[in-house]
């Protein structure tokens, strides 16, 4: 398992998709910053301490990051078959279930890292603009929220990665499915019950972005854990094509 993880880390260094996901994250931060130039109540939104770190979370989550994380995950799983490297891996031999599990672990790490990158950018900008207005408690609260966002979003989209990998119809479908799935979260947030149940918005219930009761947090945890279990169940039966 350790060797597989090491090998995946070596392979990922050559992937352009990693830089594309980083680029998408940076662009989200830039776009939300531009949105913060809007004047409300006589002052720019971006000048309010905490506004940038607060707003980057839902915008990035509803519109961009789940889709690119799903794309990254399904790409890593499907490329072995599409680029015909699975044959060589079978000759070694490599346990395909372990291989898939390792790829999911790397995707999980990337999900958290992308959210931490977003946190770093938003925090740096806030620190440059109004360092004195930021408290340690606020910053640590946001750090925790972004970390939980990364963790939760991975669990929320893991069934899509697993499903697309199983469908074998091209991994970029993951991007489209994940985009619709995360976008629908905008509407689910209108109802308190659906907000806690729907995996994408459940992430915000857990991370503290939404004010939620204990029962809502528990419901959200169950919803995300079910997503994780569902993806594990789908991936367990994943078998790369024998023809390849």
């Amino acid at each position: 398992m350790k060797k597989l993880l090491w090998a995946e880390c070596q392979k990922i260094r050559r992937l352009n998709i990693v830089w594309i996901t980083v680029f998408a994250t940076v662009m989200v931060a830039v776009i939300v910053f531009l949105g913060g130039q809007d004047v409300y109540d006589g002052s720019r939104n971006i000048d309010n301490a905490g506004w940038y770190m607060t707003m980057a979370q839902p915008w990035a989550t509803f519109f961009v990051l789940p889709a690119v994380i799903a794309l990254l995950g399904s790409y890593m799983i499907c490329r072995e078959e599409q680029e015909d490297t699975i044959k060589s891996l079978r000759l070694i031999p490599v346990n395909e279930v372990s291989l898939t599990a390792v790829k999911m672990i790397v995707t999980f790490a990337f999900s958290i890292l992308l959210y931490l990158l977003l946190f770093t950018i938003t925090f740096s900008v806030e620190a440059i603009l109004h360092f004195s207005d930021l408290s340690l408690e606020m910053v640590l609260g946001f750090l925790k929220a972004y970390f939980l966002d990364g963790l939760g979003i991975f669990l929320a989209i893991s069934p899509i990665i697993a499903f697309v990998s199983r469908m074998k119809k091209g991994y970029w479908l993951a991007l489209l499915f994940a985009e619709i799935y995360s976008f629908a979260g905008l509407f689910m947030s209108m109802s308190n019950f659906l907000k806690a149940l729907y995996p994408i918005t459940a992430v915000f219930t857990i991370s503290g972005y939404y004010d939620a009761s204990t029962s809502q947090v528990i419901l959200s945890c169950i919803s995300l854990l079910l997503c994780g279990c569902l993806s594990a169940f789908i991936l367990k039966g994943l078998k790369h094509s024998e023809k390849s």
């Binding site: 352009n16 998709i17 594309i20 996901t21 680029f23 998408a24 662009m27 989200v28 776009i31 939300v32 531009l34 949105g35 130039q37 809007d38 915008w59 519109f63 961009v64 889709a67 690119v68 794309l71 790409y75 119809k169 970029w172 479908l173 991007l175 489209l176 985009e179 619709i180 976008f183 905008l186 509407f187 209108m190 109802s191």
Partner: protein
């Protein structure tokens, strides 16, 4: 050119996913149905319903993302199977090839919005939220046609980007960023991004309830913004396809 467009449509017969993407046109009308059933009273105003079903997220997000994906698919699948070489041997003009794809996107976009319009009318009239009225239906159709035509032009830069790239990961990721940028820039400067400029043109009369512009409306500037982006996109596509062997 017409022959090329016809061939593009014939190729679509084998791409089931392209047709499946049309189902996304039903997303917002269906959501509007649920919204006015469970969250808010409609009060019989069809424009309020259409604002949710056709002039809201469909215009800002769903249609551009679907078209961006379509542009990427159209360009990628031929490159993937190395069909381009054979097309150049025929020979066909590189810009003719590019514009045939664009016309396909244009027609797809119009069909998408027409489905949205029909679904909006059905989901509002059949449950009895609004009474059927030709005036409002024709208004919806007119606006949907406008959105369909203009959005395809605003997605021309993504088509050009897809033409210039071997893979599809960059174009589809850029589509998301591009759409999100247009959405956010609306409040900052409406004439920087084609999507926000398109919204200005569509909502020029200020007759869509609940939409307030914070900047002065300037329709020629909005057209200029779209034209500048499109000209740059066509030039980029011309250079990229010209280099491709």
């Amino acid at each position: 050119m017409l022959r090329l467009i016809q061939i593009e449509f014939l190729k679509l017969r084998r791409r089931k996913f392209v047709w499946l993407m049309l189902l996304a046109a039903l997303f917002m009308p269906f959501f509007a149905l649920l919204y006015f059933k469970y969250v808010k009273e409609l009060g019989g105003d069809p424009l309020q319903f259409y604002r949710w079903s056709a002039f809201g997220y469909t215009l800002w997000f769903i249609l551009p993302v679907v078209l961006g994906t379509l542009c990427t698919m159209l360009m990628y699948e031929e490159k993937q199977h190395d069909m381009l070489k054979q097309l150049w041997i025929v020979p066909i003009s590189k810009m003719g090839y590019f514009f045939s794809k664009f016309f396909l996107v244009l027609i797809y976009s119009i069909c998408f919005m027409l489905i949205t319009a029909v679904a909006s009318v059905m989901f509002s009239v059949l449950p009895g939220y609004v009474e059927f009225d030709w005036g409002s239906v024709l208004y919806l159709l007119k606006k949907c046609l406008e959105i369909g035509v203009l959005t395809s032009f605003t997605m021309l830069p993504i088509l050009a980007l897809s033409a210039s790239q071997k893979g599809y990961i960059l174009p589809v990721s850029i589509t998301l960023v591009y759409v999100f940028l247009g959405f956010i820039l609306m409040t900052v400067n409406m004439y920087l991004h084609p999507l926000s400029s398109m919204a200005v043109i569509v909502m020029r009369n200020g007759d869509i309830p609940g939409l307030v512009f914070t900047q002065a409306l300037n329709i020629p500037l909005a057209f200029l913004c779209i034209c500048v982006w499109d000209i740059v996109a066509v030039l980029l596509a011309n250079i990229a396809l010209g280099r491709r062997k």
